[in-house]
Subunit: 161 residues, 3 copies
Amino acid sequence: MSPSDKKKLSIISFSGDFDKLVAAFTLACGSAAVNYEVNIFFTFWGLNAIKKKTGRRFTGKGILAKTFGFLMGGVNNVPLSRLNFFGTSPKLMSFMMRKRNVATLKELIDAAIALNINLYACEMSMHILGISKDDFIPEVKEVIGVANFLQYSEGGDRIFI
Amino acid sequence: MSPSDKKKLSIISFSGDFDKLVAAFTLACGSAAVNYEVNIFFTFWGLNAIKKKTGRRFTGKGILAKTFGFLMGGVNNVPLSRLNFFGTSPKLMSFMMRKRNVATLKELIDAAIALNINLYACEMSMHILGISKDDFIPEVKEVIGVANFLQYSEGGDRIFI
Amino acid sequence: MSPSDKKKLSIISFSGDFDKLVAAFTLACGSAAVNYEVNIFFTFWGLNAIKKKTGRRFTGKGILAKTFGFLMGGVNNVPLSRLNFFGTSPKLMSFMMRKRNVATLKELIDAAIALNINLYACEMSMHILGISKDDFIPEVKEVIGVANFLQYSEGGDRIFI
C-alpha cells in the first residue's frame, strides 16, 4: 500500500488552549495508531505546542511582537479553554491525567513524533507574530502556507481545533 | 438503500458552551432531517450535554475530580462562549429562542434522540474526569475511544465544535 | 471543467473572534486562490463579519435582541479569542498585520468577495438575534438553513471555525 492509499486526517491546530491541544493530539495519535496518515498544521496560538522547551516565551522582533510573545508562553504555559483558575487548571488536569494513567500533553506530543505525524507551522502566523523556525522543536517538518496545507491534506478529512 | 450508503456527518462535540451546543445540535438535527446518518461524539465539556437531568453536577471520585465536576454542571448550567453576563446569557438566549419559536437546546437534544442520531461518549475524557456511563442519559449508545470514532465516522465528514 | 468538478471547501464561520475570522478568511481566500469552490456560512457571532459598515451595531427588534446586538458590534468591534486586553488586541494585531504586509481582516473580506467566494447567512441565528438581510453587506448571496448548507457544501470538506 503506497502512502497515498492510506486514510488521511489533517488537523488545523489553531487554539493554544490546553484542553483543545490534548483533544487535537489525542485524535492525532489515535488516528496514527490505526494507520492513518496524520498532518497537524499549527497556526496562531497552536504554535505554542511546537515551541522549543527553553523556558522562554516567543520573543519576536520589536515591542509589538513581544507583546504577543507574552501570550505565547509555549506548551507549559497554555491555558484551559474554560475557567482557567488563574493558571492552575491545566496543572490540575495534567495531574489528573497522570493519576489516571492517561498520557499527558507532553507525552502526547512525544507520541505524535514517534508515530511520524507530520508537524507543519503556518508561515503567515509566524510572520505576524515575528517568530522563526528556530523557535520550534526540530521535529517540525516544514513551514507552509494555505496552498501547501491544502495539497498535503488533499483526499482526507480536515478538522479545525 | 443500506445504512452505509447514507450520507454521513460526525460531530465531535468538545465545547460545553451553550451557543456551540445549539450550533452542534442544530447542524446534527438538520442533517438527520435530510436523511444523513449522524454521529455525535461527546468529549470533555461537551459531555455536559448528555448528563442525566438530576440537577446534580458530575461528581467524580476524589477531590480533584470534584473540582472539575464543578465545571461540568450539565446542560442547564452551560455558559455562553462569549460574554456570559454571569450566567444570564444562556437563559436570555433560551428565552429568545422560545419567543422566536426556535427549538431550545433541550428540545434540540430531544429531537436528536427522536431522529435516531447516534450519541457516543468519549472514554478518555470520562476517565480523566472520573465519571461513568451512569452519569449520562440512557440514550447514549456507547462509550468509545478514538479508534471506534474513526470507524463509525468513516466515509463521512468530521466536524469539531 | 464544470463548477461541480472543482474541489470544494465550506467553512461554518461561527465565532466572531478576530483571530478566528482572520483564520477563516485566510483559509477561504487561500483555497479560492488555488481554484477551490469556497462557501462560507456565517452563523451566530460570525455574522459580525458580514455586517454592513454603518458604524452601528446590529439592532434587533425588542430589548432582548438589542442586548444581544450589543455583543454583535460588526467586524470593527470583534474581540480576540484570547486575552482581549480590553479591546486593544485586535487593533494591535491589525497594526502588526499591516506592518508585516499581511492582509488585514477588512482586506481579506474584500479579497473573498473579489475571489467570488460564496457568502451565506444562517437563517436561524438571524431569527434568534432579530436581524435581517438588510443588516448585511450586499455581497451576501443568500440566507439559508442547514438543509441548503448541506446541499451547497456536498462533495467537499466542511470546517467549523
